[in-house]
Symmetry: C2
Subunit: 796 residues, 2 copies
């Protein structure tokens, strides 16, 4: 065995035997789950009907996962550690389930899957079986905060779990295939953000079994020195354990764990006693062992153990091929189950005694059931932070800047359970006030002239949307709270991660022992309409469409039109549980429409008629001007203003939508308005001109069942843009005030003839404004300085 450790043999023979027995038991239970329907303890010779008809699961990764689990059990118990286990190759579900059963946790949660022969039979049968449990380390698996289905996020989840959990050890197994993904490679640098004094420790264990599905892995095939150099470059101290002889590997691995945990303890002790929290060199373990170790060496003449052929189900035709059947039986018996399980089918005392007890069991650690350790945030009353609105539209304010002041005090009030994550956009999104209360966490070198950089930051910034998302997920899943703030367009970078989290939330809702966790909150700013410094590549409001495909019970989308509604929305989001809240808000100065109390009412309604902007009180409106989003709201009000001036007889109703899900039918979304309410607001037969923040199609999609859908006309982003002025941007997409007036004229029966002049003026106005931008490089003053005038002042 080749290792960078001075090879010691820390284990006594008894210890080694016990570890090995436990490992064999876990392996046995893993193979049993993949293959057996019955005859769990092989009390009789294996017959085809004992075997599942469909063999589904992944063997290859499992013996390695089991080996690491066994060794962790030993040291966690010996050192009385508070540890959780993250399984990067989550397809090794049967391995982790096997361990939870050996630890007893599984049977505590599912009494029918008892720790005896009958329970073992159920354990085997249910795996990857209709009505049973999934093949992955899914939410159903106790102790898991990481399903590992979509590979790449284990290490970021681990760090997220460790933040602000000083006593926690997060052991994180990373597949060598998984290690090829961008997100995983980007995760190594997380150690720059982990504070040895106030955060917990992450112990990465790179599982170098040499293969992914059908290919060798890069990290296994580059020179060994390069691999170790790479990890050193990332700031770690690697310990390599490699071999295919179990005795030496047990010794090597035990030695590596001892060393690594000693170092972690020393690092933490040093930081916590001396106050010197400069970035330490954390250990990482590299374990190079054969894929599918202890499985069939060859099948049908093809080498399997130690090759990619071990990835899924090495013997695939057991029911029909008697040689496969024989090999399966031999394989199972090679673990000597009779030594591992007693007459009742329970693990023998020696095996059962390896893992720690109670909540020290990794599968029973409360941190892995985040809701169970969740404490509410202390939230200052947001009303105290609102903008004083003198009259609608006055003053102008930067919504995110106003929010920043409240967030500053949220941070102050919750120094140990709230973080703000972002890809270097907290300042650019104008949440600067937060830096009055905290720094950005940064453990690498700092300089005197650095601003707001410290070892203790509640703000965590790295130019990686993946890390922001993954850290926050890990943080939430272990019972804390947070916000991810990003440019709107680039949040698509984490689309697939959001999918996985939404799926996690959906499934955990149905698992009684999983407690609700805090919501995943997005604050998306620098949105599509105000990408002043950038251009087309920065314009994409499609994240809303993406999340809306997920289960209605976990998704919420808010488009607060101004500062006070943003405050109120965020307060609501930070109180909510088990949702994905998407909040989109501007950072540029814009009109404040509603006082803070009105804002609260409006947000509670989710959508509402803005009476002060409408003139249809007591009568039937001729047209409904609806809007959602800050820029569309301003254009809508400007359009209402134009209509009021030029067509004073026209009865206009202005409706603003904050909570987009209100538009859906009740039957589709818990926030959905009843048809009756919807019809009351939007009428059943009047034209609706809807100015929407994102891709117009979504509004149709949400409302296509509503009575008045046929009269709905939506303006939004139609994928036109470049680096230009704000008003040019809305014009490029026909969302501007003039075009909205044209839309009204074109749609209100009878108006076309009567308002032909106005229509033509509107066309000319667009030309004039366009032309102005081309000449002067900015918006015409009447546009840039437009303010809402109360009606009295309009029609004196």
């Amino acid at each position: 065995m080749d290792t960078t450790l001075e090879p010691a043999a820390p284990l006594t023979d008894t210890e080694l035997a016990r570890l090995d027995a436990y490992w064999r038991a876990a392996n046995y239970l893993t193979v049993g789950q993949i293959y057996l329907l019955d005859n769990p303890l092989l009390r009789e010779p294996l017959r085809p009907e004992h075997v599942k008809p469909r063999l589904l699961g992944h063997w290859g990764t499992s013996p390695g996962l089991n080996l690491i689990y066994a060794h962790l059990n030993r040291v966690v118990k010996a050192r009385d550690l508070n540890a959780i286990y993250i399984t990067g190759p989550g397809h090794g579900g049967p391995a982790i389930v096997a361990n939870t059963w050996l630890e007893g946790t599984y049977s505590e949660l599912h009494p029918s899957v008892s720790r005896d022969e009958a329970g073992m039979a159920r354990l085997f049968r249910q795996f990857s079986f209709p009505g049973g449990i999934p093949s992955h380390v899914a939410p159903e698996v106790p102790g898991s905060i990481h399903e590992g289905g979509e590979l790449g996020y284990s290490l970021m989840h681990a760090y997220g779990a460790a933040f602000d959990n000083p006593d926690l050890l997060v052991a994180c197994v990373i597949g060598d295939g998984e290690a090829e993904t961008g997100p995983l490679q980007g995760s190594w640098q997380s150690n720059v953000f982990n504070n040895p004094a106030r955060d917990g420790a992450v112990l990465p264990i790179l599982h170098l079994n040499g293969y992914k599905i059908a290919n060798p892995t890069v990290l296994d095939r580059i020179p060994r020195d390069d691999l170790l150099t790479l990890l050193r470059g990332y700031g770690y101290r690697p310990y390599l354990v490699e071999g295919d002889e179990i005795g030496p590997v047990h010794q090597g691995l035990a030695g590596a764990f001892e060393r690594a945990l000693d170092e972690i303890a020393a690092i933490q002790r040093h930081a916590r006693t001396t106050g010197d929290v400069s970035r330490p060199r954390w250990p990482v373990i590299v374990m190079r062992t054969p894929k599918g170790w202890t499985g069939p060496k060859k099948v049908d003449g093809v080498p399997v153990e130690g090759t990619f052929h071990a990835h899924q189900v090495p013997l695939h035709n057991v029911r029909r091929n008697s040689e496969h059947l024989r090999q399966l039986e031999a394989w199972l018996r090679s673990y000597q189950p009779e030594e591992l399980f007693d007459a009742t089918g329970a693990p023998v005392a020696d095996v059962a005694a390896l893992p720690p007890e109670g909540e020290r069991r990794m599968s029973a650690n409360p941190h892995a059931n985040g809701g169970s350790v969740l404490r509410d945030l202390v939230l200052p009353d947001y009303r105290g932070y609102g903008v004083d609105v003198l009259r609608p539209g006055d003053p102008h304010s930067e919504a995110t800047r106003v929010l920043g002041r409240w967030l500053r005090d949220v941070i102050r009030a919750n120094p140990d359970r709230f973080r703000l994550f972002g890809p270097d956009e907290v300042e650019s999104n104008r949440l600067n006030a937060t830096f009055e209360a905290t720094d950005r966490a940064f453990l690498a070198a700092r300089r005197e002239d650095d601003e707001h950089l410290g070892v203790d930051g509640r703000v965590v910034e790295v130019l990686s949307e993946h890390l922001c998302q993954g850290w926050l997920e890990g943080y939430l899943l272990t019972g804390r709270h947070g916000i991810f703030t990003s440019y709107e367009a680039f949040i698509h970078i984490v689309d697939s991660m959001v999918n996985q989290h939404a799926k996690w939330l959906k499934v955990t809702r149905g698992i009684p022992w999983r407690r609700p966790i805090a919501s995943l909150n997005y604050l998306l700013s620098s949105h599509v309409w105000r990408q002043d410094h950038n251009g087309f590549s920065h314009q994409d409001p499609g994240f809303i469409d993406h999340v809306v495909n997920k289960k209605a019970e976990v998704v919420r989308v808010y488009l607060p039109p101004d500062a006070n509604t943003l405050l109120c929305t965020m307060d609501h989001c930070l109180r909510s549980r088990h949702y994905i809240n998407v909040v989109i808000a501007g950072k540029q100065p814009g009109p404040s429409w509603l006082g803070v109390e009105e804002a609260a009412l409006h947000c509670r309604r989710g959508l509402g008629i803005w009476q002060w902007a409408s003139n249809d009180e007591g009568v039937v409106p001729d047209v409904v001007l609806a809007c959602a989003g800050d820029v569309p709201t301003m254009e809508t009000l400007a359009a209402a203003d134009l209509l009021r001036r030029h067509l004073p007889d026209l009865r206009v109703r202005v409706v603003n939508v904050v909570d987009l899900m209100r538009l859906q039918p009740e039957s589709e979304h818990p926030h959905g308005l009843s048809d009756r309410q919807f019809d009351t607001v939007f009428t059943t037969d009047k034209p609706i001109v809807f100015a929407y923040h994102g891709y117009p199609m979504l509004i149709h999609r949400l409302t296509y069942r509503r009575t008045n859908h046929g009269n709905l006309h939506v303006r939004g982003y139609k994928e036109e843009g470049t680096t230009t002025t704000p008003f040019d941007m809305v014009m490029l997409n026909d969302l501007d005030r003039f075009h909205l007036v044209i839309d009204v004229i074109d749609r209100v029966p009878g108006l076309r003839t009567r308002a032909a002049h106005l229509r033509q003026t509107m066309v000319d106005e667009r030309e004039r404004c366009r032309d102005y931008t081309r000449r002067h490089g900015e918006d015409a003053p009447d546009i840039a300085d437009w303010r809402w005038q109360p009606e009295a002042e309009t029609n004196p």
Copy 2:
């Protein structure tokens, strides 16, 4: 100056002076673009009205980009290299534009932006100006294949461009902020897939200016040794050039380029002459210079040069603040424009002579305008690869396996311009036949028992969807062809990259000198309905919804229902240009419905009535059963079968949709059916029960303007799933044959009373089938073995 080079001084004074003059010229033109409306050569004192009212752009990155560009120009010319320049920090648009103007390319393409004073004025004015050009290295910038708006993809684009371009040098500037992203970190390993004999060289230049937007960067703040160690671990040989004194930096950088290019030449010579193509240690240059170098040192007392404050526009109030105005003028004059431009405003001879000429200019390199070097694929006639269909549904075949045989021959016929990229799923997606023609590219260690691994593979597999996407983009953008094959669910990993590529395609369509490139083709298999080994985390058909938000003229979505339609679809996609083609197809054995000639007709139509499955010929149908996707099609035909047997009077029309965009109105999508055609197929008033592969909402979204939309009832994936049997999966989502029959009964007027018995039977059938899976772990034999029976055999 500290560097790992033995510091030499390769430049003569004249060379250094010329380089520096060029650099100053580029910097001057950069600042001019950001600030000036007029007075481009500062012939008169700078006045507020010479300055743009909105100052938009990014200065910080620009001097570094210019410096690298200048040095590259020198060596490209000296060595007569065939080189392109990729700008990771694409927000440095004005820098690259400045260089293209100095090279003359810009004026050749835009004669009004001539290389004289008037042209310079236009160059300045148009930048980030309404009606002008974007602030990024967007498609409008000659020589760019990489906009760099969304950070992280420069290095993968570079490698993609280098593949199969043995003579090309791809210089790739990577921002140190960009280098924090997961995709970028995952890109370093690309050297494992780059063959020094048959691929070109990538020269990464890590631009360590220390900052991103408002934070220092990780790579700048970790110990210098760690950084170099990291790059060595990734298999590179790093050359570090650092300093803030321009003379030594010029010398150091020139030395680094000489060394790096010598090494590249030696590596290539060695591989190409000896045939030894083991993985070399490619050079990488690390350039550590101040952010915003040569810009204002301090503004309003705050340090700017060398800090993050230099990121955007250092002097932001020039029109109103006279001190800012003064500083701007001093800044501009510090470059000594009078030495750099002649009386006409053209670059002086010395400056103009630095860059190479003609197509050697990086901005004029034809590889960076991929369409201009694109050669068609030689495509074998797919008809020769089709499945012989005896009668509809017979035989069963694995669609992707059939396709694999054709792809094998596409690979054979196009050994230098076609590649298949995938995250280790080519085999699992059953495209194995390709390995009869080629290997997988892999330059790290290989073993004897490795399968289909070689230095020359047309298949490129790495467990990184990001790399697959980025490589393919780089490959396509430089005029070649390819396919990305992935599991359907995980293609969301690259959602944001697809956005960027779609935007690139949209914009380049409008740029006359940009020639169309080959389409970006996705083959998504292991789709939502057949995730047998996995479960819920692997089930997501939402990528279709994602792409459909992009401009209609660049997006195509195909759902071939069987092997022959898949063949025909792929043939079409590989011939197409400038699209994003999403093809979703199964890998599991399934019925072959159409012979290859029928398949060709059906695909050409895009959707059509399957007459052999319908019984409404010559009469009005009672119901339309529509379907899209392989699994929904099978369930629909099974439902038609049930209806035929149990309700022989019912007139059923079966419609299959291959080309999803046909459903949209003509006005929305170029493939859209006219309303007349649509109404003919789908009727204007009969119930339509639509069995769809993905989220049902999309079908509503595509058809909400059609006459008969009110009668449309869609079944699809409603986010329910786990590890279970195929039929249980469709039942979980109410997409199964029995439920479709129920839907018909519920919707055809008058049927509910008449068919109450059948409806109840269908409910019972679902129970029976569900129950069977729970007992036996597989689908009931009548389901698993169901075959379509021609009508004659049904009603003898």
